[in-house]
């Protein structure tokens, strides 16, 4: 393969820093980002079928927010805590990818 053409990079393991090459899979990996609990993301790619709430509504924990249809199943996405709907970022009938930000909440 063409390792000669690649640039050696620094990789820190424990507290030692080593000169090395990276694998393609290593380069592909996504950086971890902590979850924002005020944000509701799609758990699976699918279609937003119906909203039960609108911006500004006060909603109790466990009440349905929307239906996300995926794999022929209607998934009811529920309110994680007592709070308010700050912003709705997707509209009914739209197909979305996994991890799409759908709703922002206020505690």
């Amino acid at each position: 393969m063409s390792e000669e053409k690649q640039e050696l990079v620094d990789l820190t393991i424990e507290e030692g820093t080593y000169k090395t090459l990276l694998t393609e899979k290593f380069k592909m990996k996504k950086k971890y980002e902590p979850k924002n609990t005020d944000h509701v993301y799609s758990i699976i790619p699918g279609t937003v079928l119906k909203f039960f709430v609108k911006e500004g509504d006060t909603v109790k924990a466990g009440s349905p927010l929307l239906i996300l249809e995926a794999m022929k199943m209607e998934n009811i996405i529920k309110m994680p805590f007592d709070g308010k709907i700050r912003k709705i970022l997707v509209s009914e009938g739209v197909r979305i990818a996994k991890d799409t930000l759908m709703v922002e909440l206020d505690k």
């Binding site: 393991i13 507290e15 080593y18 090395t20 090459l21 694998t23 197909r95 990818a97």
Partner: protein, 514 residues
Amino acid sequence: MSLEKEISFLKEEKAILQKGGGEAAIEKQVAMGKMTARERIAALLDKESFCEYDLFVKHEVHDFGMDKKDLPCDGVVTGTGTINGKPVCIYAQDFTVMGGSLGLMHARKITKIMDHALKMQIPCIGINDSGGARIQEGVGALAGYGEIFYRNTMASGVIPQISVILGPCAGGAVYSPALTDFVFVVENISKMFITGPAVIETVLGEKISQEELGGARVHAEITGNAHFYSMNEKDCFDQIRTLLSYLPSNNTKKPDETKVMAPTFKGKLEDFIPADPKQPYDVRDIIKAITDGSEFFEIQELFARNIVIGFGRINGQSVGFVANQPLYLAGVLDCDSADKAARFIRFCDAFNIPIVTLEDMPGYLPGVDQEHAGVIRHGAKVFYAYSEATVTKITVILRKAYGGGYIAMNSRHLGADFVFAWPCAEIAVMGPDGAANIIFSKEIKDAEDLEAMRKEKIQEYKDKFANPYVAAARGFIDSVIEPSQTRAMLIHTLTISKDKTEVRPTKKHGLPPF
């Protein structure tokens, strides 16, 4: 009818059946850059060694107009022959016959040749080129797959099983290759996936091509499902013949010994290792410097490149090498490299091939992705595989052997027969930088010049602990050797270990962390 007439009838029948799906279908196959099933078998086996069976097998399905369909050989060619003069069982799916689809009789031809392989104790090779289950046969096709998988499992660890993916191999069909020991793929020809791009797009809205989803390169580099990757079918068959030359025909035998050859490498081994332990080198150069004819047959070359596995010969004896690769990801252990090494160690153990481990690793790859992907259970596979193996196990510590990695890489404590270290080896609970920061944290914190003190303490730790002599004093390593003595020590220890026996507690089977 005179016998003469009957013979000519037989000849005509055979000629028709051997045409498979006929001229038009063959033309299509060739246009895709593919050989036909019979051409593949002829190209892989020793010249004119193939003997075909079950040419006259017919399917028994009547539904959906199948009663009017003649499927020559039911879409699969099966038989026996030789490779490197040694017997093998083989089958090749014929894509020209109804897309090589698998029905019950097609599967029964395969299971029959697999049963032969297990009884005759010889390797079994399957060439996969099939659109999948023959839908018209319904549950009969599923039964066929299941019966193949069952035999793959029964033969596992008894005879070498090889899968060659020379066309599509999708859905349930992928599980036979996944259950076998080695999977070969060819660029642009091999396609493997459980769920194809069309379904993924309809259900999930993710658009991807067949090649990007499950092409040869993806399985060779990303998933690790494939062990050998080549650019064309001819090279693929060469790889299979080379692989078999390193293996015994079954688990009661040892690989054939070959004529002893000196390495062609003529330099100094120590020249490969940079003076600075943080600089990389290609560990394959070290392997080639010690093997017969400087030959090394690498397995999973593109997948988890931070560990190198493969076969070579030492003094004519087939040996499995496991080596950390500082050139990639500093040679760390992670989920993929642990999985890759552990499976290979178990293969060598099952087929009586001694294992030589070359160690130079700084530890485990840090990261949320690694922890969440289960680096604990994947990493544990390496400990399990080495501990469980009863073949001769020899370790040479080239440079770094820190912490858990020191234990994992066939240490004395996991049952290594011989452990050697080069004088530049650093066997320690962790790297000098980290260790000094912990042990001398107070001295460093209180110093006027923090950095100078840190450097001094790192050096102090290095002098005291980052060497092979502390471990040698406890007998954890058997000898500190000059790099130039490595091959001689391996020859000596492999020779005296030829009749090694080691008994394990009786059990139904162990529970490796998979």
